[in-house]
């Protein structure tokens, strides 16, 4: 889907951790980061976060170092 989002993130233990994001005007609270990984695009890194909200709905958030921007790339909602 790759839609732009706004993210509030914490930096703790040398790691970035998204805690809240706004997508289409609505704010979502991250209750847990279930997975994180990085991929290389040329000399830059793209950071991926698998996160869930309190209802266990799943979102994949992506931070592109080169663009300094966040997108939401996958969701799984029930």
């Amino acid at each position: 889907m790759d839609e732009p989002i706004e993210v509030i993130a914490l930096f703790e233990g040398h790691k970035m951790k998204p805690v809240r994001f706004r997508w289409n005007g609505r704010v979502y609270r991250v209750s847990e980061v279930t997975g994180d990984w990085k991929t290389d695009v040329g000399a830059y890194k793209v950071h991926h976060y698998a996160v869930v909200d309190a209802s266990s709905n799943f979102y994949q958030l992506t931070f592109d170092e080169r663009q300094t921007s966040w997108i939401i790339s996958k969701i799984w909602v029930e």
Partner: protein
């Protein structure tokens, strides 16, 4: 706790670790909603694609890796299909590798989700083999949130068989005697390395069980199967190599290959060549990144009726250039493919590898065209390193 007493008398103690349903487990870890559901990682079942892997619930329905996704959907209609996130799998695989290296420096990765390790002597640091395994499992769970199955044996082959004995999240210690007790009564295809066609050929020879196979003379098996017959004889007696190759020591033995199952069968020669060019580029890039050159190029072709052939040729001068790999790969595709048989899968392999610096001794006549190619490849690699793989491509790959 009988393990420590048994392994201490073994010349080598080999551990095989297999991550449980690796891709599916990562998806389930990331998406807790998928827990307790059949999960299949692979392509969309509406199109022609295959199952990459699936979790244990889906396996209860008969779903298996490599199966067409449409068949998996038919067997398990309620399964959740996930397209997979390759970057996540390779990243997690690298993290797992660093965990393994905390237990022994002798780690040989076999694939993205399994490795074999020589833990001879190392387990004494932990008291027993069981303690070492439990510690490693805990660390894997803490760092990547995944489980694994472990086999401990005196050789690599038995260790691999042992890790499959108690899945998921299990551990099995198995020496040659245990192997006989467990496997001799089982059908021959319970041994790793024996597929349906070998099983059928063995059954025709009256060999049904592993014990039958172990009783057959090696020369008879060699007569029927060639070199593979020797392998069959050895594995039926639980024999195998105990030498663990870490990355540095693997350089003489490994090969690098890429293959792809096509979205649709293809028969147009331009498309076939275009796929070969794309695959050759991937293989060449890995060769250059590892500092290798290949002396042998192979092509694998699978037709739409699942007949697979492989052909290879040895080069006069080893190469790491996609142009040369591609030109040789082209010549290896049988001429009847395309016009007469549609192609389902294509693969390109570079083997018989040497390190870059060894080539100087092998190549007596300087090759100026090769030098130009190497220079242009270095520039292309630098560009791709900075801006990504898509920044520059061979024109022919666009047809595919």
């Amino acid at each position: 706790m009988g393990g420590i007493d048994r392994t201490i008398s073994w010349p080598r103690v080999i551990m095989h670790v297999d991550m449980d349903a690796f891709f599916a487990a990562i998806e389930m870890r990331n998406m807790p909603l998928l827990k307790n559901r059949p999960v299949i990682v692979g392509g969309d079942p509406r199109f022609r694609s295959v199952v990459s892997t699936c979790n244990y619930i889906a396996r209860q329905y008969g779903v298996r890796s490599g199966m067409p996704a449409s068949e998996a959907k038919r067997l398990c209609p309620e399964a959740v299909f996930v397209s997979g996130t390759l970057g996540n799998y390779t990243y997690t695989s690298a993290k797992i590798q660093t965990v393994f290296e905390n237990y022994t420096p002798q780690v040989q990765p076999l694939s993205v989700d399994e490795a074999v390790m020589d833990i001879t002597g190392c387990h004494r640091i932990f008291g027993t083999v069981e303690n070492l395994v439990q510690s490693m499992k805990r660390e894997l769970n803490d760092k990547v949130g995944l489980t694994c199955s472990v086999g401990i044996s005196p050789n690599k082959y038995l260790a691999k068989l042992a890790s499959g004995e108690n899945k998921p999240d299990g551990m099995t210690i198995m020496d040659g005697e245990d192997f006989k007790k467990r496997f001799y009564c089982r059908p021959v295809d319970s041994l790793w390395g024996i597929g349906p066609s070998t099983k059928a050929a063995l059954n025709k020879m009256g060999i049904i069980t592993v014990e039958d196979l172990s009783c057959k003379e090696e020369r008879r098996l060699k007569g029927a199967f060639g070199v593979y017959g020797t392998f069959l004889s050895k594995i039926s007696q639980g024999q195998g190599s105990e030498k663990v190759y870490n990355w540095e020591s693997m350089q003489d033995e490994k090969s690098m290959s890429h293959e792809t199952t096509l979205r649709k069968d293809i028969f147009e020669i331009d498309r076939i060549y275009s796929v070969l060019l794309w695959l050759s580029g991937k293989v060449a890039k890995r060769l250059r990144r590892g500092g290798f050159k290949a002396k042998t190029i192979s092509v694998k072709v699978r037709s739409s009726d699942f007949k697979t052939i492989t052909r290879d040729r040895t080069l006069a001068v080893p190469t790491d250039q996609e142009k040369i790999i591609y030109e040789n790969a082209r010549k290896l595709v049988p001429p009847e493919y395309g016009p007469r048989f549609k192609i389902r899968l294509l693969g390109v392999k570079a083997s018989n590898l040497i390190k870059d610096d060894e080539e100087i001794q092998l190549c007596m006549i300087p090759d100026s065209s090769g030098e130009k190619l190497s220079k242009s490849s270095r520039v292309i690699d630098a560009l791709r390193g900075k801006y990504g793989d898509e920044v520059i491509k061979m024109a022919g790959t666009n047809i595919y």
